[in-house]
């Protein structure tokens, strides 16, 4: 069935119907030309992928430089490959983020207040972060502020003092944020879903807890900083209005005190737990106006040869406004303000996840639609040529947006090295997407959207939604607490 075409045709019929039911016609503005003709698109603009150079500095870090001179701006970053999942002890979740925050708290040359003040006077901030599989220090500056900002970044990187009182303050703040985050059904769904599909034996299944935050010591902070912020697994990227020849010298000299050493981390994750039959996991949020859904299972890593096919498939299923999920559950049924799906491609088995926030009274009805659409792409609702073409057009013609600003170019280039992709990836992207066939989509849907082994996490008002969910008979209904632990029925 060509679903998109059916919608379009019924729209046309309707418009005609109103025009013909005609006293109304008197109100319509007369046009001097036929407005039903869709203007033909002009010739597709040529793809311009930015050029860059990649060299290795004496300290072992790689340096990427790309010039872009239309505005006097520079985007600078140091990206570290590997993150909390590689460097954080299992019982210290939240430590890596804490270390990133602690870099803002003062150096041997500047107090935290002085760091903040000096950066404000340069009109910028240096952002520091460590997430699951990578970390970064980054800033954007006017081109004449690159060198002074870089000097402050170097101070933060090399000379942090990690004051004990700052750790206590950040710990207290994190504990309040954690408590507040549990007031939100969507956050709870994001917390419980990975616990269920990976368990805490896998880094992907862990999240920050009160106990882990309370366990972090200053010694942990110092140790992770020492192990992590080394040049050996770092990529330095500078994009913008710079002289490529001169900027390498600027960076080398600014980062000279950093020293050398460090190596690429291993990404050898434990095996994911054996898949269970499709199960509904219910977390109670009494009185919630909406139920938050997270439906899915572990998926393939970024390196999978199925990556492009999965991108096309997911674009059709849940990653555009007129995706099957959003067109059905939001636009046709009106159950939600927006739903979707995605693959968390990483170094390991990142999850496939579909979901969104659903009005409480339609929790069961919406789950029927989710299941219909997830099963649908596996065969019962065949993917049409038009759906396939639109998804490819969306991906291929959207590529120039990846290069629309200095920070976008920075990410686009850096990501190639973080993900281990070829240098001509963007030049070949269009052809690779265009080569995907309906048979490819069928194959990857069968393999990765395994509707027999889904974890269906729903956070909502148990009193009103539990019985209707049980009545669907999609699988057992297991009630969990906000930490993802089963509670007695």
């Amino acid at each position: 069935m060509n679903r998109a075409a059916v919608v379009r045709i019924s729209g046309c019929v309707l418009a005609l119907g109103l025009a013909l039911a005609a006293p109304l016609g008197a109100q319509a503005i007369k046009s001097s030309f036929n407005r039903t003709v869709i203007p033909p698109a002009g010739p597709t603009p040529a793809l311009h992928v930015p050029a860059w150079t990649m060299t290795t500095l004496p300290n072992g870090a790689r340096l990427i430089v790309s010039q872009r001179r239309n505005l006097p701006l520079v985007s600078f970053s140091i990206t570290w490959i590997g993150g909390a999942d590689q460097y954080e002890p299992a019982d210290r979740t939240g430590l890596a983020s804490m270390v990133a925050s602690m870099l803002q708290e003062g150096t041997t040359h500047r107090t935290g207040d002085q760091l903040s003040s000096d950066l404000q006077l340069l009109g910028t901030t240096v952002n520091t972060s460590i997430s699951g599989e990578d970390g970064a220090m980054r800033f954007m500056s006017m081109k004449d502020k690159l060198a002074p900002t870089l000097a402050i970044l170097e101070d933060m990187l090399v000379n942090p003092t990690f004051p004990a009182d700052a750790l206590e303050r950040l710990r207290a703040r994190s504990l309040v944020s954690l408590a507040q985050s549990k007031d939100r059904t969507s956050v709870l769904a994001s917390r419980v879903f990975p616990r269920v599909i990976y368990t805490t034996a896998h880094p992907y299944g862990r999240s920050v807890t009160e106990a882990s935050l309370k366990a972090i010591t200053r010694g942990d902070v110092v140790a992770l900083h020492k192990a992590y912020f080394t040049p050996g697994h770092a990529i330095i990227t500078v994009v913008g209005d710079v002289d490529p020849a001169a900027v390498r010298a600027t960076i080398e000299s600014a980062l000279a005190p950093w020293g050398a050493g460090g190596a690429m981390p291993d990404f050898d994750y434990p095996a994911v737990p054996a898949a269970k039959g499709t199960t509904i996991y219910l977390v109670d949020k009494p009185g919630a106006a909406q139920s938050s859904f997270a439906i899915g299972l572990p998926g393939p890593p970024r390196s999978t040869p199925d990556y492009m096919a999965l991108q096309v498939l997911n674009t059709i299923l849940g990653d555009q406004f007129q995706s099957r999920l959003n067109a059905d559950i939001r636009e046709r049924k009106g159950y939600s303000y927006g739903v979707g799906s995605g693959f968390a491609f990483g170094k390991g088995p990142g999850a496939f996840r579909a979901g969104g926030d659903i009005v409480s009274a339609k929790t069961d009805s919406a789950l029927i639609e989710f299941m219909t659409q997830l099963k649908g792409v596996r065969g019962p609702i065949p993917i049409t040529d038009e759906e396939l073409q639109t998804a490819k057009d969306l991906l291929v013609q959207g590529l120039p947006e990846e290069f629309a600003s200095v920070s976008a170019v920075n990410s686009a280039i850096t990501d190639l090295y973080v993900d281990g992709l070829p240098q001509d990836y963007y030049q070949r992207f269009g052809d690779q997407v265009k080569a995907i066939s309906r048979a490819d989509l069928q194959r990857v849907a069968d393999r990765y959207i395994d509707t027999e082994h889904l974890a269906i996490v729903i956070v909502g008002d148990r009193k009103s939604i539990e019985a209707p969910l049980k009545a669907l008979n999609y699988g057992p209904v297991v009630v969990l607490d906000t930490e993802g632990e089963p509670i007695a029925p």
Partner: protein, 477 residues
């Protein structure tokens, strides 16, 4: 997943409309200065003209990326609604995506997102805006799409799709307000600060009851009054051929007739004679204190000093409230403060989250002492310098985005009748003095304010000055 068709609450109205790029500097012959001053980074070259039907057209070239952003900003928002029909301007925005006379439902998305671009709309108290971001070769399609719903929306109106959109908007309200911790704070302040019937006294999202009451007849009347070319500004920014664009604009929009003159709610400045104290029990685990004062809108130059005051009070760790409450005395987990300017009036607000063991009463008392000192002494030269040092970078960063420039130019036209107003804005921000900041702190942050304590269910005693605080009614008063 992307959030689409978003609604802008009062607090962020200008963030999307004007301030994706920041609030900028002062006056005198600015249009000339902006165009002539080549060395300045504060420059968006543009061309502005009007069609005979009153449609304002702004064109601005940027060849950096082969894409183009098209926006139509209608000068209508929730302030144009009637009591009993709150939320209608925003609901109408959703109706604009259900297809029009010659454009079947779904095609709009296919010709924008489906070709690698995007589209969206947003509604604030003052404006409703619609945009497409597309590869340059789809510019004509974007103009065709926008002109069709400006001229022929009613020819495709369909009860079923209208009802679905109304349900979607109710879900939007649930997601943003009812199911969101502290989500009702915005509408409670609107009702508490403005007198009943004031155009800013109800929330942009509206009430559930009013949304239920809105009929198709309301849609038609609203469309005929407000969705006419003389109430709209069309802005095109990106990589395109200007002569071709002008020809297409004439072809697609030229034959849509001018509408009737529009009666707008006038400026109605607001002051509060005395403090109001409210308490709201919410499904939260951590209480939070909110304080707001009525201030000025985009027409009043004091907004610039109020913006600077906000930056000096909260944000970076050196900001006064942040430093005192979060760093030095460690009473709070976080604090925010700032001015939010709507077209006619605005508000200045503070919110503070306590650390365990500290009360909202303590936070209010310490905040008041910090504010008292600011009123007495004003800011230091360094504080002023820090607050303004980032303006240039923020502005230039904004120049990287077609859509950012669209909003700068379009709001300049809609609110000030000058697409080049961004340069005045920039100069006025840079010109704010320590004396200005001290003066506005004294003039606006007075005893006439609303203090709202949001507390966990059953914990009204956790409110600041609990005995004097009145529980919020269902109307938010």
């Amino acid at each position: 997943m992307r959030v689409r068709r978003l609604l802008l609450g009062a607090a962020v109205a200008l963030a999307a409309a004007g301030a994706t790029v920041p609030r900028p500097l002062p006056a005198q012959a600015v249009a000339v200065a902006a165009k002539a001053a080549a060395p300045s980074t504060i420059n968006i070259p543009f061309e502005h003209y009007q069609l005979p039907n009153g449609l304002n057209v702004i064109l601005s070239l940027d060849r950096a990326t082969p894409t183009v952003a098209v926006d139509i900003m209608y000068h209508v928002g929730s302030k144009n609604e009637q009591l009993g029909r709150t939320g209608f301007a925003h609901l109408f925005e959703h109706v604009m995506f259900t297809g029009s006379g010659h454009v079947p439902y779904g095609l709009h998305d296919k010709l924008t997102e489906g070709v690698g671009g995007g589209n969206n709309g947003s509604t604030s108290n003052d404006i409703t805006t619609y945009y497409e971001m597309v590869p340059s070769n789809y510019l004509e399609d974007a103009l065709w799409l926008e002109s069709d719903r400006m001229g022929w929306l009613l020819q495709a109106l369909d009860t079923a799709k209208y009802d679905a959109q109304r349900d979607i908007v109710k879900n939007e309200r649930r997601q943003r307000v009812d199911n969101q911790p502290y989500g009702r704070v915005g509408e409670i302040f609107s009702a508490a600060i403005y007198p009943k019937g004031h155009p800013y006294s109800w929330p942009v999202i509206g009430s559930m009851a009013d949304l239920s009451a809105a009929s198709i007849e309301d849609v038609k009347n609203f469309f005929r009054v407000y969705y006419a070319p003389n109430n709209a500004t069309l802005t095109i920014v990106g990589d395109f051929d200007p002569a071709q664009a002008r020809a297409w604009v004439s072809k697609y929009f030229g034959e849509i007739p001018r509408g009737k003159p529009i009666v707008r709610p006038g400026d109605r400045p607001v002051t509060l004679a005395a403090a109001k104290r409210l308490v709201l029990e919410d499904r939260v685990q951590v209480p939070r204190l909110f304080i707001e004062w009525p201030t000025v809108g985009t027409k009043n130059p004091d907004q610039y000093a109020l913006d600077v005051l906000g930056a000096i009070l909260a944000g970076p760790r050196t900001a006064r409230l942040t430093k005192t409450l979060v760093y030095d005395r460690q009473l709070a987990a976080n604090v925010s403060a700032g001015q939010s300017s709507n077209e006619d009036v605005g508000e200045f607000g503070i919110s503070v989250t306590p650390r365990p063991g500290h009360t909202l009463g303590e936070l209010e008392a310490v905040s008041d002492s910090v504010l008292g000192r600011m009123r007495r002494e004003g800011p230091t030269a360094t504080e002023l310098q820090r607050a303004k040092a980032g303006l240039e970078l923020d502005f230039v960063r904004g120049l990287e985005s077609n859509l950012g420039k669209v909003f700068q130019l379009a709001t300049g036209q809609v609110f000030y009748n000058d697409p080049g107003y961004y340069a005045i804005d920039y100069r006025r921000s840079q010109a704010v003095s320590a004396a200005d900041v001290k003066r506005v702190a004294n003039q606006y942050l007075t005893a006439g304010r609303v203090v709202l304590s949001v507390v966990p269910m059953g914990k009204k005693d956790q409110a600041s000055q609990a005995a004097k605080s009145v529980p919020v009614t269902s109307e938010g008063r």
